[in-house]
């Protein structure tokens, strides 16, 4: 459906240099993921934002909100909540779509 605008490349520095609670988890500078799904979720959010031609800020503000909402949950859980918020807000998917599909995933 939405054609990716090739001329609107996301500024990598905006993703890389997020500060405060939104800062990407790192060890010795390297990005760290606690499990493979976190790595996929990272890539999915960056790819989605980029393909939609959105500013990274569109994702970042939702990530900040998701973290503020539940400060104690693991970073990438808030990340997934933010991605879900973004795609629902943009009218790409509904919460029901995601609920239904998530229920089908059993392994």
């Amino acid at each position: 459906m939405t054609k990716p605008p090739t001329d609107l490349l996301l500024a990598a520095s905006e993703v890389r240099d997020m500060a405060g609670p939104a800062a990407l988890p790192r060890v010795n500078g390297e990005l760290v993921y606690e499990s493979p799904w976190q790595r996929r979720a990272f890539g999915t959010a960056v790819a989605t934002t980029q393909h939609l031609g959105l500013d990274w800020d569109q994702f970042r503000v939702r990530l900040m909100a998701a973290i503020a909402d539940q400060p104690d949950r693991p970073y990438y859980e808030s990340w997934v909540a933010a991605l879900e918020r973004l795609v629902v807000d943009r009218g790409l998917l509904t919460t029901q779509d995601i609920d239904d599909r998530a229920a089908e995933i059993t392994e």
Binding site: R26, G29, Q38, A47, L92, D97, R101, I105, T106
Partner: protein, 200 residues
């Protein structure tokens, strides 16, 4: 419900809700043609290998043109580097200065602690056991093998980084660069010179 029961033969009980939602999102976005699985891989890869900007080069160039800054930098590296807007949540940064008589080089003997807020990600060799042991045992010889020949009279000081304190080398300003501005000077500063395995 029946699907759920079948799933329990596998490890569905260990499959967390968030992981399920993350995978559902990816699948749906792929099916809608919004993202391409290969592109997701590319993004993960690109950020894993993105060493980031060499902020350290700007720190060094500033120290070369501004003696007061240089003094602050050598006294309190963390604070002076933060003046330029760089720094991270992990530990402190100390800056050691090369002179005609002293050459500094940085290693992390325990693991691979590295001043990443100013230098990005460490090169592979920095993390290798031979570098980590030989730079302590025979620094002069290893430096020569890495293309950094030092005059006999130059003292070599090896700094062992830790998670609490990471070192950055302030290389000597190359001769003949008096006419260059701060930005042009920053372009001359290599990563290796700030680790201390190269002289400019």
């Amino acid at each position: 419900m029946s699907e759920h029961d079948r799933g329990e033969h596998h490890r569905s009980a260990e499959l967390g809700d968030v992981e399920r939602r993350a995978r559902a999102l990816e699948q749906l976005l792929v099916e809608k043609g919004i993202v391409d699985p290969a592109f997701i891989d590319n993004m993960v890869e690109a950020y894993a290998n993105d060493i980031g900007p060499m902020n350290g080069a700007r720190v060094v160039a500033r120290a070369w043109v501004d003696p007061a800054y240089r003094e602050r930098l050598l006294r309190d590296g963390t604070a002076a580097i933060a003046e330029l807007g760089y720094g991270g949540p992990e530990g402190n940064l100390a800056v050691v200065e090369n002179t005609d008589d002293v050459h500094n080089v940085v290693v992390c003997t325990l693991c691979s602690c590295y001043p990443w807020p100013v230098l990005g990600l460490p090169p592979t060799w920095y993390k290798s056991p031979p570098y980590r042991s030989r730079m302590v045992r025979e620094p002069r010889r290893l430096l020569a093998e890495m293309g950094c020949d030092l005059p006999e009279h130059t003292e070599v000081r090896v700094w062992d980084s830790s998670a609490e304190l990471r070192y950055l080398v302030l290389p000597q300003r190359p001769a003949g660069t008096e006419s260059l501005g701060e930005e042009q000077l920053a372009e001359l500063v290599s990563r290796d010179s700030m680790i201390g395995v190269e002289r400019l």
